[in-house]
Amino acid sequence: MNLSINSASSVVSQSRTNAVMAAAVAMMFGIFMVYGVGFAQSASLHNAAHDTRHSYAFPCH
């Protein structure tokens, strides 16, 4: 955390905002990864991830 200390409350709220923004980015990255492996309707992706899709109960075929 490289925040300069102005007042305790503003630092807390600023670091909270940063954390929520970072979490939102990570959430989108996670959804993108899971979607790519589990749901993308590309034949090559489907074939590569076939057994994973079945094993995780993602709808397949």
Partner: protein
């Protein structure tokens, strides 16, 4: 903060993905391979094979006047060319493990993002509880309407199933979240309603059942894949929680 979230997610996803790949190799994969022998044999008594292609996946219409379809594993693209796929068992295991790791990293990123949103204290043990919530959201809830399918099962249209699956996970996740972190009775009720709603609406089902895979095999596969998913989520939850605590301690 993003660096801390991503490094936790990548390591936890890698660990859970590799370990679950080993478990898959001895549990679900043998059942998939066995079921594919039935799927490709086409020996079902009412299989009227009609080659049609959709998204590069060959499907067999069981009756031309129904919507029940069996989607076969071998894939030809629309111009009749064979689409790329793993060539042998070793290559297949490699790509399955890679897909497991990427799925693990993806789910870990979602889980650690939720840690951050909640602002709760984490540890390995608390992480297990979070992992079990992930198991409920991404395995139990969708499985009630769309049980894990062994290859050769009859199923409704793929896009409809995918949409229901995603909507159910989102509704269950949001519902659980507001029930756990909410503080008023109407909020609890709203959460409960969100969790129940997808099942009241109902998952898309095939108009007929009776795929190529024997029912015993299908039942065994459902049990195996749900149990392995539970193992995956417990490993992912513990590893993410422990790493999240560790990275927080280091930053102080």
């Amino acid at each position: 903060m993003l660096k801390r979230i991503m490094s936790t997610a990548i390591i936890a996803g890698l660990v859970a993905g590799i370990l679950v790949s080993v478990v898959h190799e001895f549990t679900t994969t043998p059942i998939i391979l066995y079921a594919e022998e039935y799927e490709n044999s086409g020996e079902n008594h009412h299989t009227l094979l009609q080659d049609a292609t959709q998204g590069g996946v060959k499907k067999a219409n069981v009756h031309s006047d129904t919507q029940g379809q069996i989607y076969l594993a071998d894939t030809d693209s629309e111009d009749g060319q064979e689409e790329w796929g793993p060539n042998n068992r070793l290559e297949r295991t490699f790509f399955t493990s890679l897909a497991n790791i990427l799925t693990g990293v993806g789910f870990a990123a979602i889980l650690v993002a939720c840690f951050t949103f909640s602002g709760e204290k984490l540890s390995g043990r608390r992480g297990v509880i979070w992992g079990l919530a992930g198991f409920a959201v991404f395995t139990l809830a969708p499985s009630l309407g769309l049980p894990p399918e062994v290859p050769g099962s009859m199923a409704a249209d793929l896009s409809l199933r995918q949409t229901w699956w995603i909507a159910t996970s989102v509704a269950t996740g949001v519902g659980l979240w507001v029930m756990i972190f909410g503080s008023k009775t109407p909020i609890y009720l709203l959460g409960l309603l969100l969790i129940i709603l997808p099942h009241v609406i109902g998952a898309p089902q095939p108009t007929e059942i009776g795929g190529n895979a024997p029912p015993e095999l299908a039942g065994q596969f459902v049990a195996a894949s749900i149990v392995v998913s539970a193992i995956f989520w417990v490993i992912l939850g513990w590893t993410s929680g422990a790493l999240w605590k560790h990275s927080g301690d280091v930053a102080k």
